[in-house]
Structure formats: C-alpha cells, structure tokens
C-alpha cells in the first residue's frame, strides 16, 4: 500500500495545525502593531508610529513566510480571522509594555512548535524555524530596549519627546541576528 499521506504532504497534521495557529498569531501581531502605530500617530509620537508601522510590516512578512512554507510542504495554509485588536492605550509606556509582552508570547509559541518538531523528528520544519528563533532574539531585544528608554531617559519634562526620538534608532546589530 502506497504511503499517500506522506507523498502528498511533508507536515504532520499536528505540526500543520501549530503552524496555522502561528500564522494567526503573526497576523494578530501585525494588526496590533498597526493599531499601536495609529495610537502613537494620533498622540504626536511620530517616530514611535514609524517604528510600529515597520514592526507591523515585519509581522506580516513573518506570517507570509510561514504561510508559504505550509503550502510548499503540501499542507493547507489557512488565512486567519483577526479580531479583538486593542485600539486605545493610556500611555506610550503601556504601548511598549504590550509590545514586549506580545514578542515574548510569540517567542514562547515558536519554542512550543520547535519542541513538537523535535518530538516528531520533523527536522525539516525545525530547521525552517531557526530563522524565526533568530528573528525573535532581535524582536525581543528591540522591544526590551524601547521599554528601557523610559527608565534611562525618564518621562518627566521633555522625556517622552526624547524617548520617541530614540525609539527609531534602536538597532540590533549582532552578527548572529536574523536577516
């Protein structure tokens, strides 16, 4: 009897489900960053707004990278519903706190997928996930550094203006960073 399932698709049903869940999370992150960009823009934080626009694009790119991988491997990539995006924040600091929390959640999620890949000996997907692991190092670093600006500069006086100006200058230039 032919092994039709394996011939048609490299991914197991469980890994395919996890990757589709991750696609949804990346889509949610992209929409969340867009809402943050909007809030920052409306409140006069132009540089932070630009920063979140770029972040939104990056998350969309991550979503598509996962989406195409699932298709390339013969799986069913599902275009996700995205809802429940928070539009209002009480402060710039809260925006960055939520951004860091979101990045941590994404990293944790990739760790779960990677652990399942190892369990199933799906080293092909595991290798594919390495790019995202490196990317998450950068994403978490940038989000953490942005939040640290609130401690380093302080919010008093022109502090928020200074923080906003510095946000866009945060770079992760480690040679091991994701491309």
């Amino acid at each position: 009897m032919k092994d039709i399932m394996r011939v048609k698709c490299l991914l197991s049903a469980d890994i395919e489900t996890l990757l589709n869940q991750q696609i949804k999370k990346e889509a949610h992150s992209s929409a969340m960053y867009l809402a943050m960009a909007s809030w920052c823009n409306q409140n006069g934080f132009d540089y932070s707004s630009d920063y979140f626009f770029k972040q939104s694009d990056e998350e969309r790119f991550h979503q598509l990278k996962l989406f195409k991988y699932v298709l390339d491997m013969g799986g069913s990539a599902i275009s996700p519903d995205v809802s429940g995006i928070r539009q209002e924040y009480s402060s710039l600091r809260e925006v960055f706190e939520e951004a860091l929390e979101a990045e941590i959640a994404i990293t944790q999620s990739f760790k779960v997928i990677a652990a399942n890949c190892l369990k199933e000996q799906d080293f092909v997907t595991f290798e594919f996930l390495n790019w995202f692991m490196k990317e998450q190092r950068e994403e978490e670093y940038k989000a953490r550094r942005a939040l640290e600006l609130f401690e380093v500069i302080g919010e008093e006086g022109t502090g928020l203006w200074e923080i906003d100006k510095h946000v866009n200058k945060i770079k992760y230039d480690s040679e091991t960073a994701g491309e």
Binding site: D3, I4, R6, V7, K8, A13
Partner: protein
C-alpha cells in the same frame, strides 16, 4: 463497494474496518473510499484530513448530556467535497472510530515503508 473491490481487487486495499464501515485506499487514484452506512464517498488526502477533523470536533459528551437537542443529528459538511453526512450520535461514534483506526493504520504504513524502503540500513 464489494462489487468495485472484487472487480479491481488489486487497486483497492482495505485500510481499516469496523462494524459500521470500511475505508479503502486506491493506490492508482491516490485517494480513499469510505464505505459507511451504505454510502460510498471518495476522499483525497485533504478531504480525509478535513473529515477527521470535523468528526473529532463534534462534542459527543455535549450531545449525550444535552436533552434539549432534538433530533440528535449532526451535519458534517466537508468543503470542496460533493457529499455531506447526516449522522446520529451512534453513527458519529462509529465514524470517529473508523477514522481513528484508519489514521493509525496509515501511520503504521508510513513507519513500515520508512523501515523497509526509505531507511535502507
């Protein structure tokens, strides 16, 4: 299915069977035939996965406990498939067992093929 099976016995392999039905694989067509409750339906690999997911999503416990539901019929519709199932509770349980058994056998087949043909050492 018995007629089809007899006519082209070499093309169809019985994957799994229980009292309610049988799943056959056609190597030539690259698909499966589910003979369940007098109905024979052809599924490609995506359709078979979707059917399994649909059946597994049915909350059997909820159906059992909820006395308000009348009649206890679930409609299982698979996108891009020309067929759908209208199943009562016992049929859902039977089809679920049939599909679970099928996927265990398909996984076993993959392990055997790996050992015999893909990992020649």
């Amino acid at each position: 299915m018995a007629g089809v099976k007899t006519a082209t016995a070499s093309s169809y392999t019985e994957v799994f069977a229980n009292k309610a039905g049988t799943v056959y694989q056609s190597d030539r067509e690259g698909c499966w035939y589910i003979d369940f409750d007098g109905k024979l339906v052809r599924f490609d690999h995506r359709g078979l996965l979707k059917l399994k997911n649909s059946i597994c999503r049915v909350d059997i416990e909820e159906l059992l406990l909820n006395s308000d539901r009348s009649p206890e019929i679930e409609m299982v519709f698979i996108c891009a498939c020309n067929h759908c199932y209208f199943l009562n509770l016992l049929q859902i349980i039977s089809l679920k067992q049939l599909l679970e058994g099928t996927f265990v056998m398909l996984e076993l087949n993959q392990i055997i093929r790996d050992r015999l043909h893909r990992l020649p050492f």
